[in-house]
């Protein structure tokens, strides 16, 4: 029941925030902050209560799931309200809530129009994303998948910047069309399973191991793959992302980059590959090529941008390419890298978007050609920007490095050539990240301007994210341990590639 309550807290919090508009000007954001805080505390206490043994045992024992909930919903089609949480979901839900806090903080003084509705939409997006990470019934999963987009759409459409209509629409149509294909795939899969099982079920556990003929399996897999890759975003389905990120309000960008993109990666890892192991393995070379193309293409385009937010957006395309690579390499090390990248990229990109938002709030422009010399006016801002820029380019000692290194290491066993190409992306990352620092913070200011440096609220937020990244970089083991049992059970579902088995048995990472 605890998982339903978790989602319920966020939903009710949203309603309260909506009502809080009447109680005073600043109340909604406090409501929002408290709601997310309560949700986070609630999550951690229930996890600590229900499953201490989960963290002590290794994968071999069957208790993969920390908590599990199943209620009948639409028995006519075997649809149930089925939520479950394992290490992977836990990690991502914690990330979601943390970034939720950061999003609230980043919108603290930015939003002056209908604050209550803004915070409500923010909380409802969080509820939807949390649902996506927890749902184990494919119908329910699809429901959360679609529903989380509506508050996000409203965030962009109402509080976005100059070109918000176009961006919001593009975002929604891309994700909806691919979502519709996924719905078709889900229905086909459930129908095929019902032919063998005799009754309808949309439960993940019932659908695992459904045998389809290979042609059908390919098309059904493709439906899932498209939906998830659009969200990831993988090359060439990324074109909605720069627009949506650039036009969204800061908190919207933080949520988009930090957690919405991760739902795509999560979907691939949890659903697309395990449900269709054969087809996915056959498709892996194409997926990995798309991933490598995304890494390079994102980096090159990021370098071509003059808009601060657009640059960060394209860098996301590049970084999420690593996730795609890691997932389709499908061995322990690469998968660990992909999961690590999901967390590290979520934090570092959220920080960069917050930075972009802070600059825009002060200068009223995102054009880096009009910045220059910001360090001089705002040294704290400059230092933070430098930290997250080097995190983004993969400086050893920070989370992103661990992630990208693991992905490349795991990938090398599967496909050295693609690894070599993808590794070039890291050079690209160094170029655009440093170039961004150069353009925005170094040099001489072109115009005279007065603006405040980061205040204590902003510094506290930035410090939190820095600590997370340093911890991830210096001691990633807890995260790896949390994800390991999940990866073990997922990998059992799929045929292994021989070379990879050999590599994992050597145990490079000394688990």
């Amino acid at each position: 029941m605890s998982l339903a309550i978790l989602i319920g807290i966020l939903l009710v919090g949203g309603l309260l925030a909506l009502l809080a508009d009447r109680w005073g000007d600043g109340t909604p954001r406090w409501v929002s902050l408290v709601t997310i805080g309560v949700a986070l505390v609630y999550l951690l206490t229930t996890v600590a209560d229900t499953a201490p043994e989960y963290f002590n045992t290794t994968a071999a024992i069957g208790s993969d799931w920390i908590t599990y909930l199943k209620l009948d919903w639409i028995p006519r089609f075997g649809i149930s309200f089925e939520l479950a949480m394992d290490g992977l979901s836990l990690l991502l839900v914690i990330l979601t809530l943390l970034l939720g806090l950061i999003a609230v903080s980043s919108s603290w003084s930015e939003i002056d129009f209908k604050q209550g509705l803004f915070q409500a939409n923010l909380l409802w997006t969080l509820a939807g994303v949390t649902g996506v990470f927890l749902a184990m019934d494919l119908f329910l999963f699809f429901l959360f998948w679609e529903v989380m987009l509506i508050p996000m759409y409203l965030l962009i459409a109402i509080w976005g910047h100059e070109n918000k209509a176009y961006a919001a629409m593009k975002f929604f149509i891309f994700t909806q069309f691919s979502g519709l294909l996924m719905l078709l795939s889900i229905v086909v899969l459930a129908w095929q399973a019902s032919l063998t099982n005799g009754s309808y079920s949309y439960s993940y556990f019932d659908l695992l191991g459904t045998t389809l003929n290979s042609n059908l399996e390919f098309w059904v897999m493709l439906g899932f793959f498209l939906a998830f890759t659009v969200k990831l975003p993988g090359f060439p389905f990324h074109t909605w992302l720069p627009d949506a990120h650039t036009q969204a309000p800061t908190a919207g960008s933080v949520l988009l980059a930090g957690i919405l993109l991760k739902t795509g990666a999560y979907g691939l890892l949890r659903f697309a590959i395990p449900l269709f192991p054969e087809a996915s393995m056959n498709f892996a070379p194409i997926a990995m090529s798309l991933g490598a193309a995304g890494v390079i293409y994102g980096a090159v385009l990021a370098f071509a941008q003059t808009d601060f937010k657009r640059l960060v957006a394209y860098s996301s395309v590049s970084h999420m390419g690593f996730v795609l690579l890691g997932l389709y390499a499908w061995n322990n090390i690469a998968l660990q890298g992909a999961i690590m990248q999901m967390v590290a990229h979520g934090v570092s990109t959220a920080a960069l978007f917050m930075m972009a938002g802070a600059i825009q709030h002060r200068l009223h422009t995102r054009d880096m050609r009009r910045m220059g010399g910001l360090w001089h006016d705002a040294p704290r801002m400059g230092a933070c920007a430098l930290f997250f820029a080097v995190a983004s380019l993969g400086l050893p000692g920070l989370g992103n490095f661990v992630a990208e290194f693991l992905v490349l290491l795991g990938l090398f066993a599967v496909n050295p050539w693609i690894t070599a190409i993808a590794a070039l992306g890291m050079i690209g990352a160094a170029i655009y990240a440093l170039w961004m620092m150069q353009l925005a913070f170094q040099g001489k200011p072109e115009e005279l301007r007065e603006f405040g440096d980061f205040g204590s609220r902003e510094m506290a937020t930035m410090a939190t994210m820095m600590i997370i990244l340093v911890c991830l970089g210096m001691y990633p083991q807890p995260v790896l341990d949390l994800a390991q049992p999940v990866l073990d059970s997922l990998q059992k579902l799929t045929p292994n590639i021989e070379a990879v088995v050999a590599l994992t048995q050597v145990g490079v990472m000394d688990q």
Binding site: R76, F142, Y153
Partner: protein, 485 residues
């Protein structure tokens, strides 16, 4: 005819008696309040009488009408839809025209026609119901607003609908010439002996498909739809789009099942083609509209395209029950949603400004000064677009499930493309509604009575409930359709 037969016909009798009473009341003393009260009471009484009528179902009442659960469910739906339309129209009429009392009389008569269609088991009763519904609608379109546009719309509808009925009648005649019967189930026995390639039958089916395609506004028989909706008063357009189509579709399904028309593969292929054209063209043309009524008109073309998929899927006996069930659920969801969408237009047109033809920029900023009405429109649009938690999503899911079970990939592909186009124009309205206050000035004044607010909440709740807890309705439809099949 005995007392049980009469009991089965109770909704029809109630409506007919109510219509007579209304006519007498208007003849003796014009009083809009009393008339509207009587009309709503009649419609609600007819709805309630269905509980009692259900006790004697299923039975044939004369060869013309079949009182079964299916007929009763849809009669209830039409009566409720009629009542909602009547309630929403009150303010609209008060601020318009002189002596609008006959409007309610016509509305009750039109509902009676729709209910007869739900009962029909014979081509004669089909025609009777259809004409009763349509003739009332001609008048309803032209009646309340005595300006040029509604008049033009009414004449257009009258002429084209008349032509379609004539074509259809010719088809019936040819059908009668080959089979010697007009009764659905008797026709099944006759048709079973006839070769499916029979040329007279082919001509007949082309004519009938044309006529019914017109009534359902399937592409390429859809040309009248946007003009008529545009000209018609908003509540009437909503009624026409929901009940006017649902009633025709119900009788079509009944006829297809009873006479087993599914075995004529050419007919089924024709319908599949019409479905694809309607889905693509309807959605495509809706993109170009800035008038919300015209946009909803084209969207209704597209929705009818989605809906007739179930006739194609139903051609396979194994998947027929699921397909019919999906179709019935879709009809209910579609009716609720359409009434809600047009309901908002009615509320906006009802104010003193008498603004007709709501354009996109007329709703801009609606979220900020009429949040409740904006929520109604938001929910209705999301439901039309098929976003989860709304009735429209469950209906679309149902439809997709049935089409997948039969492996109709081309139809499913068109549905996916059509729905994706649809998202754009539905969301465009949402975007206009969320515009900031500075960006708009001349908003039409909306109705703001308690009754309107209550109706708005009811409509929102019904769309959401159909989308969130559909199980009981699904089971109920399933149980009654087992009897029909």
């Amino acid at each position: 005819m005995n007392i049980d037969d009469l009991q089965g016909l109770l909704p029809l009798l109630t409506l007919a008696a109510g219509a007579t009473a209304l006519m007498l009341q208007i003849a003796f003393a014009r009083n809009i309040k009393l008339t509207s009260f009587l009309a709503v009471a009649t419609l609600l009484a007819a709805t309630l009488s269905i509980v009692w009528a259900g006790e004697s179902a299923p039975r044939f009442v004369t060869p013309l009408l079949r009182a079964d659960k299916l007929a009763l469910v849809f009669s209830a739906l039409f009566c409720v839809a009629g009542a909602v339309t009547a309630i929403l129209s009150m303010d609209y009429l008060n601020n318009r025209g002189d002596e609008p009392e006959e409007y309610f009389l016509l509305l009750v008569l039109s509902t009676l026609g729709a209910c007869v269609l739900a009962y029909a088991s014979h081509l004669a009763s089909l025609l009777l119901g259809l004409e009763l519904m349509s003739v009332s609608l001609y008048a309803l379109i032209a009646y309340p607003d005595k300006t040029k546009l509604p008049l033009e719309a009414a004449i257009k509808y009258l002429v084209l609908s008349g032509a379609a009925s004539a074509t259809m009648l010719f088809g019936f005649a040819l059908l009668y010439a080959t089979t010697g019967t007009l009764q659905f189930s008797a026709m099944a026995q006759q048709l079973a002996n006839i070769d499916t390639g029979n040329i007279t039958l082919l001509v007949a089916s082309v004519m009938i498909v044309t006529g019914l395609g017109f009534k359902l506004s399937l592409v390429p028989f859809h040309m009248w739809t946007p003009d008529v909706y545009d000209g018609a008063p908003a509540p009437v357009a909503g009624y026409l789009a929901s009940v006017g189509k649902a009633a025709v579709f119900v009788v079509l399904v009944r006829w297809f099942i009873a006479s087993n028309l599914f075995r004529f593969s050419i007919l089924i292929d024709c319908i599949a083609l019409l479905a694809i054209l309607s889905m693509l063209a309807g959605n495509g043309l809706a993109l170009l509209q800035t008038n919300i009524k015209r946009m909803l008109a084209y969207s209704s073309v597209a929705h009818m395209g989605y809906l007739v998929i179930i006739l194609v899927v139903g051609s396979d006996l194994a998947h027929r029950p699921l397909a019919i069930e999906a179709g019935m659920y879709y009809l209910i969801a579609y009716t609720a949603t359409t009434i809600a969408a047009f309901g908002l237009l009615t509320l906006l047109s009802a104010g003193k400004s008498q603004k007709e033809n709501i354009q996109l920029h007329d709703v801009s900023g609606l979220f900020w000064h009429q949040p409740l009405y904006a929520c109604l429109m938001l929910v209705a649009l999301l439901s039309l677009a098929g976003i989860p938690l709304t009735a429209g999503f469950v209906a679309k899911f149902y439809l997709i499930s049935s089409a997948v079970s039969d492996g109709r990939w081309i139809l499913l592909g068109s549905l996916a493309i059509g729905s994706s186009i649809g998202i754009y124009y539905y969301l465009r309205v949402v975007f206009y509604m969320t515009r900031r206050v500075e960006e708009h000035k001349n908003i039409p004044e909306a109705a703001h009575g308690l009754i309107e607010k209550f109706m708005t909440c009811t409509l929102i709740a019904s769309i959401l409930l159909l989308g969130i807890v559909p199980q009981s309705l699904m089971e109920y439809l399933r149980s009654i359709l087992q009897l029909v099949n």
